[in-house]
Symmetry: C2
């Protein structure tokens, strides 16, 4: 069973609750209306053997990634971090020094992004062969009353991506998936610069095609990407860049003028356009490469059982 199908199962059954839920589950963060104020929340996980490999990954980078994965959801909504909670399950022989190193990294990373760790839980597995798991919940608040969802892309919008794609996981297990910067400041900068012209946004965690399809599905449009325009990391071709996943760059649909780069020189590249979606059978995302048109809805990384 696929993660996405399961999540959809959960969210669909939850739709009846939408009264106080301003943005229901299924976007990068949910938003709840709380006595007239909006609060956003999201949770993400890092598991040894799946998202990191503690045999080779330094603990500090594992702890960092546990937080930055969730922070990237905050970036995707262009909202402001408020606080984080971390729940960790350790193998019984993990050791105090290593546990402290892990939590130092979690706490320091959260603090670095103004998202202080305010709570946590630690539990131990019964068996030393069971892997470290770490879930991090983050809270955030809207900026100028706004949070940018996946829904809202309009026909004739241009589709943009920040940074370069495809350098995420190197053969030695390292790479940008351990060291990426959640684009929180850049997202807030974009939302301020574009105002109502910023229509929809997501962070690239699963892969360009798959994440673009989340915007296309939520907005009921088709996204057409030009392979030649995809900004690729050094040594990587467009197919790897589109399939890689874990880039944690921003993908967004906007009208009007868009800056060519953001604070710190982060490039913004137009890679495609929003088209009408003619029917259910039509792909949500296609990539044009010369004369080829490739269905890209499934291009990317999928947690599959």
């Amino acid at each position: 069973m696929r993660e996405f199908e399961l999540l959809r199962y959960i969210y669909d059954a939850n739709a009846a609750l939408a009264g106080e839920i301003a943005i229901p589950p299924g976007d990068d963060m949910a938003m709840i209306r709380l006595a007239g104020r909006d609060l956003l929340a999201a949770v993400d996980q890092v598991i040894d053997g799946r998202h990191v490999r503690l045999e080779t990954t330094p603990l500090a980078l594992a702890g960092r990634k546990a937080v930055t994965r969730s922070l990237s959801d905050i970036a995707a909504m262009a909202v402001r971090p408020v606080g984080a909670l971390a729940a960790v399950v350790l193998p019984p022989d993990f050791g105090a020094e290593r546990a402290e190193a892990l939590f130092d990294a979690i706490r320091a990373t959260a603090a670095d992004y103004d998202c202080p760790l305010v709570g946590g839980d630690i539990a131990f597995h019964g068996d030393a062969s069971h892997p470290l798991t770490c879930s991090v919940t983050v809270f955030a608040e809207p900026v100028n009353g706004r949070a940018i969802t996946r829904a809202g892309a309009e026909v004739d919008d241009v589709v943009y991506v920040t940074g370069a794609l495809g350098g995420s996981v190197l053969e030695d297990g390292g790479g940008k998936h351990l060291t990426f910067e959640p684009r929180i400041a850049e997202a807030i900068q974009l939302a301020a610069a574009l105002g109502p012209n910023l229509h929809a946004m997501i962070d690239l965690s699963d892969g360009l095609g798959r994440d673009a399809s989340h915007i296309a599905e939520a907005s009921n449009v088709q996204i057409v990407i030009d392979a030649a325009q995809i900004p690729c990391s050094a040594g990587v071709d467009w197919r790897v860049a589109a399939e890689g996943g874990e880039d944690y760059e921003l993908l967004f649909a906007a009208a009007g003028d868009v800056p060519a780069s953001l604070t710190g020189g982060l490039p913004v590249t137009a890679i495609g356009r929003v088209s009408p979606r003619r029917g259910e059978g039509e792909p949500a995302v296609v990539i044009r490469h010369g004369d080829e048109t490739i269905t890209a809805d499934e291009l990317g990384w999928q947690h599959e059982s």
Copy 2:
């Protein structure tokens, strides 16, 4: 390394952040001040083989417990649930039907306590021998501007407990630890009835002695419990009741009149008194049993590695 020492390590290092954190980590929930409003948050976990045993525990009860453990933290603060997020790691062969049954239980339990599931994450282990883990983050808001912390017990307060203790885990793995009711409504009722006379509260998860010591340490007092007054579950003596853990009843310190029972007939029993604590070397909690005085700080369940 003990869970409590690790948590203390984390919290101590976090104390510098206390500016926007109205109740710092270390209580049942943290409280964040968010643009003039207070938001409480907590996270707790359920792991197969530790808190439940899926070989014998029905999935519906495992999912229920994953939520009720966190809801009990909301009860401990006498605050109002707002929403929940669940992060689950499944063995790869878990199966779609069972995953749906688990999430049905999580969602239904959260809804039952007016704490709607608004977000979640699902990941899969790499190996079928790795256990299901489920972390649930809950958030809540103060009631009438208040949240009841562990700090605030005063000398000469009476110490009370709701319900009966010691029936938590039966030999067959069942028992109240799977079916307990988080005392949210009762806690809010207590806070309304007692007003400023309700000084400190906690939920009984680790055991009477250990949880009482959390109040005593946070309040810088000693708690003296009378063994003869401890309300015991059927067939259980006071030692088992004091050591059992996972009762998820309320333990609180209050002055003045306290109702003998709460809505639904839940009994409230006076079991002890708050004394001055003379020095660091003195126990935080003692139980008097006839002529015996037993140091009870460590009486209870401890997640130990």
